[in-house]
Amino acid sequence: STIVLVFEAPAAGQAGSNRGFTWAVEKGQKIKMGQVLGHV
């Protein structure tokens, strides 16, 4: 089974905004529910 997430988030590196989405995973990494995929 697979779950795909498609979502909108602040683009990293926007002028005048310190928010931007960054990934916190590696490709092929094992992950548990509740762990971090990424941060805004």
Binding site: L5, A9, G28, Q29, M33, G34
Partner: protein, 431 residues
Amino acid sequence: LRHALNDTKIRWYPIPVGLGIGFLGFVQFYKTQAREKERWEASQEDGDEAHPKKRPKVRPDGPWQVQFMSTLPLKAMSRLWGRFNELTIPYYLRVPGFKLYSFIFGVNLDEVSEPDLHVYPNLAAFFYRTLKPGVRPLDPDPDALLSPSDGRVLQFGKIEGNDIEQVKGMTYTVDALLGKNTPTPSISGKESEPSDGTADKGRARAELYGDEELIKADEEFARVNGISYTVPGLLSGGPEESHYDSARIQDQSAVPSNPGAVSEVRADLALGEKPWYSLLSPDNKTSLYYAVVYLAPGDYHRFHSPANWVVERRRHFAGELYSVSPYLQRTLPGLFTLNERIVLLGRWRWGFFSYIPVGATNVGSIKINFDKELRTNSLLTDTAADHAAKEAAARGEPYSGFAEATYSGASAVLGGHALRRGEEMGGFQLG
């Protein structure tokens, strides 16, 4: 002959289980083909053009393995596999059986909420097991997007344009994955006052998306599914950080707001005027991202909400049921646009949010806890799809391949069903 019949000793031999399964599969396949043929002949008589036979069967391209798979009755096999896994296992075989399964697929039995494995009557029940409280702590950072389930991160990245180009071996268009168009709102009529009278619409929406003064006025403004929500709690962010300004909210008159039923399935599909990307923010301060998490057979197969968000509508693509193993993901381009899947569309504090559980042959059913009407991987699904195709053809419109339901009835104020970070949303069931 009489002598042979009377005097020959009768000896019984066990039939191999695989042979039995093969035979049942063949019988099922033969019945399905006969029924299709019968229906097709009937449609020939009355000239019915919209017969499924006329609907182009999606032929995936790819190596011979994929072509071979596309000729197999995968749905019938999935249902058969589901039936097989719902057979009750003899009581004393359950513990060794589940331990063997756990050993082969790497299930951590220490995390399973039910210590006595005898409780699980069959493999389907064990597959849909729950975990002990606390074994999956949520990351405390409110700005973190959480993993929706156990599994392996197969792909992730940013979406440029319509194609998800950064994905090796998996090229598909977002439109194909999410379904491009949406039917005209199924709930007709003007915006009306919420029947429970909790708040007037404009004020409530402003509260939802960040109008500080109004929030101070009424911290607890919505009771959804019996749980009271505060705006900051729901969207896990200070109102001043919220992405929407109330002016923008005001012009969303197209958003269905009539409470109506919790969800309403509309099998007839017409080209509407509100594609999925109408939910995207008009300013260009945001981008689209995607992530793909693969659940192996031994993983915990219930899935959860990765953030606070409001799901507004659901699109069910009946699709085929190919395996979603990493191998097939690499070899079958556009796999996810072929498979049976549920596309949940909604919003979170940063804009558009969608959550797409994708089914597979060995794990056919997708369950969404708050959508009692959803049936996947069942004959009903096929029948609904045929029905939808006929109706769309009768109206001279193309069949866009999915049945849609909206959750606007869940909360008139939020315009959808609110999900909390880490809340269980449903799961994958065998067969």
